[in-house]
């Protein structure tokens, strides 16, 4: 409001001369308008930067990669760019996706149900779990890779460089995301539903299983899909596990050696030949199609099924 008074206060006696007063105030108002418009323009510009960057990135990848998608999908890795493809990596990514979903959904939703429906939040212990999950969500992904390397691949568990070790590492990575999203979904179910169910004699678990969880499923699914799509795009933890890049067969089981799309893309990017960069663009397109359709599905589901209470 002090802006209206402006940097130059009205000269003495100004209000005795209505015409001049109107002129001065008009000028100030004009300046205010200009400042407001400028600010708005700057905000709009900063918003557009992200959008434009996304459009340019997609256009660039489409332009370079589209012609190579077929080769990438149908062939296996090779030292010759003319024959190289990423089918084993695509299959590896699909395996990883299924396994990560299998591991994280029950555990993540279970933890969320405990924290939202059962835990007494005044207990120190429960608050510790909450802060801990918040912290884990912000731990850099490469640190999970180190955990996988030191604990799952080589050390204590000793699974070797297998699909199972990769899936477990990625599961630990996305678990906090899934828990946080599921908790939000559970929290949006109103208490009247719980009270009604309990008043009819249902036990706490019956209430949770038959009333609260079904009502929260759209939110949980949306959060889980977004978490999964994060896992699918991660390269850093898998690199550390020693996921191989020259795997010329599709994964056959949990103990199979494997590669994944982000790893294959990284490998092609780091080669000096330009042909491999084009293949990388093709593989990026495949990865983006998988991710974007997952995202679109999640966003559609959120708008279609999410109830407003």
């Amino acid at each position: 409001m002090s802006d209206l008074a402006g940097p130059n206060p009205a000269p003495e006696g100004l209000y005795a001369q209505p015409a001049r007063a109107a002129e001065v105030l008009g000028r100030q108002r004009l300046r205010e308008r200009a400042k407001n418009a400028l600010f708005r323009g700057l905000l709009l510009f900063s918003l557009l930067l992200g959008v434009v960057a996304l459009v340019v990135l997609l256009a660039d990848v489409l332009d370079r990669g589209l012609g190579h998608v077929w080769q990438v999908v149908t062939s296996f890795p090779s030292g010759l760019p003319a024959r190289a493809g990423a089918q084993s990596a695509i299959m590896g990514t699909i395996w990883l996706m299924a396994l990560v979903a299998l591991f994280t959904i029950p555990v993540g939703v279970g933890a969320a149900v405990y924290l939202e429906e059962y835990a007494d939040r005044s207990r120190r212990w429960n608050r510790l779990i909450e802060v801990n999950i918040q912290n884990l969500a912000a731990v850099p992904s490469i640190v999970y890779g180190i955990l996988g390397l030191g604990f799952l691949v080589r050390g204590f568990v000793g699974l070797g460089q297998t699909l199972l070790a990769g899936a477990l590492t990625l599961s630990l990575l996305v678990l906090p995301t899934v828990i946080i999203a599921s908790r939000e979904a559970l929290r949006s179910v109103p208490d009247s539903i719980r009270h009604g169910s309990l008043a009819l004699g249902a036990t706490p678990w019956q209430t949770t299983w038959r009333q609260v969880l079904p009502a929260a499923i759209p939110g949980i699914a949306t959060g889980t899909i977004l978490g999964l799509s994060r896992a699918i795009g991660e390269a850093a933890p898998l690199i550390l596990l020693g996921a191989l890049t020259f795997v010329t067969f599709n994964p056959e089981g949990l103990n199979s050696a494997f590669t994944a799309l982000p790893i294959q893309i990284f490998n092609w990017i780091s080669r000096p030949q330009d042909e491999f960069k084009l293949l990388a663009a093709g593989a990026i397109l495949v990865l983006l199609v998988i991710l974007l359709s997952m995202n679109a599905f999640a966003i559609w589901m959120r708008s279609r099924y999410q109830k407003r209470w």
Binding site: L57, G108, I129, L292, N295
Partner: protein
């Protein structure tokens, strides 16, 4: 007396019956469910413990070879060479440079986007732009790395007008700028949440006093949401510090104690990735350096996260 005795007996029998009716049979099913849910929640604690244990053991072994003073104060980093040097400063300085570049993009543009979305945008614009930012947030980091290396770097080389050599194939500038774009959605979405939580009455009050939209936003809404905005900034910083693939791909693999963004430099995360690709034998010093640098990285990001949690908790303005 006998009466009272009889009465007492009747009363005891009565309560016994009531008790029998009310007696809650131990519901073992319910307890088993609760037990397994607790286990799910405890897995997160176990993960943290496992991270700390997995990091610490090789790190301690590493510091038996290399003194912490040498690690933190000398300026040569070549742990995988036959004549190794263990000064982590070049990795730290590179992380600092890249984080600074990324923040120059992510903080102003992220905050600007948040303000626009929260205060100015029509519902239609919001409905269009928010999913776009979500998609941007979901782009894998290898893809951003590819974009930095094969699109932005050549572009920068073409239009370079500043004094000094133009950037090389690998340079911190391009990686940092793209990393900044990557972090915009994180900062924007958290800061927007914070501003959306400011009650409408405060804006209405400000307008009623004759304030313009600009001064309402800058002097009322942003200060009221400051703790959330600061937390968003800190999370942005910790994401920049921990980002791996963009810097590995676009900023190169040479440790370089320099603050010139046109040069190639290796961050902590990029070193970890490079050493991981090299497949170090278990127990070798090369293997242990992964964990020593990882511990440094984990400690830095952990402290930042705790700081952010604390700021939100202490300075949050609570509105009814």
């Amino acid at each position: 007396m006998s009466i009272s005795q009889g009465g007492e007996a009747a009363a005891t029998a009565g309560t016994a019956r009531v008790r029998a009716v009310l007696a809650v049979k131990p519901r073992w099913g319910e307890r088993a469910v609760l037990g397994s849910l607790v286990l799910c929640a405890l897995l997160s604690v176990a993960t943290t413990v496992a991270i700390v244990v997995a990091l610490l053991e090789p790190t301690i072994a590493f510091f038996r070879h290399v003194s912490p003073i040498e690690f933190l104060t000398t300026t040569e980093w070549s742990p995988l060479f036959s004549d190794p040097e263990f000064g982590v400063l070049p990795l730290l300085s590179a992380t600092l440079v890249l984080t600074a570049i990324a923040l120059c993009v992510a903080l102003p543009f992220g905050l600007g986007s948040a303000i626009y979305l929260s205060e100015y945008a029509s519902p239609r614009t919001r409905g269009l732009v928010k999913p776009t930012l979500e998609v941007l947030a979901g782009i894998p980091t290898v893809v951003f790395g590819f974009f930095a290396l094969t699109f932005l770097t050549p572009l920068l080389q073409d239009v370079w007008f500043l004094p000094g050599d133009p950037p090389g194939v690998f340079n911190a500038l391009s990686a940092g700028l793209v990393m900044g774009v990557m972090i915009i959605p994180t900062v924007a979405s958290l800061a927007e949440d914070a501003m959306a939580a400011v009650p409408h009455d405060m804006r209405a009050g400000s307008f009623a006093l004759g304030a313009t939209k600009l001064s309402t936003t800058v002097r009322v809404v942003v200060p009221a949401a400051l703790s959330g905005i600061v937390a968003a900034f800190i999370l942005g910083v910790s994401r920049a510090i921990g980002e791996t693939m963009i810097v590995t791909i676009a900023s190169g693999g040479t440790p370089n104690l320099s603050f010139d963004p046109a040069e190639a430099m290796q961050t902590m995360t990029a070193f970890i990735a490079a050493a991981g690709i090299g497949d170090q034998p278990t127990g070798s010093v090369g293997y242990q350096t992964i964990f020593a640098v990882g511990t440094t990285l984990f400690a830095i990001t952990f402290l930042m996260n705790m700081l952010s949690v604390r700021i939100v908790r202490r300075y949050r303005e609570v509105y009814e």
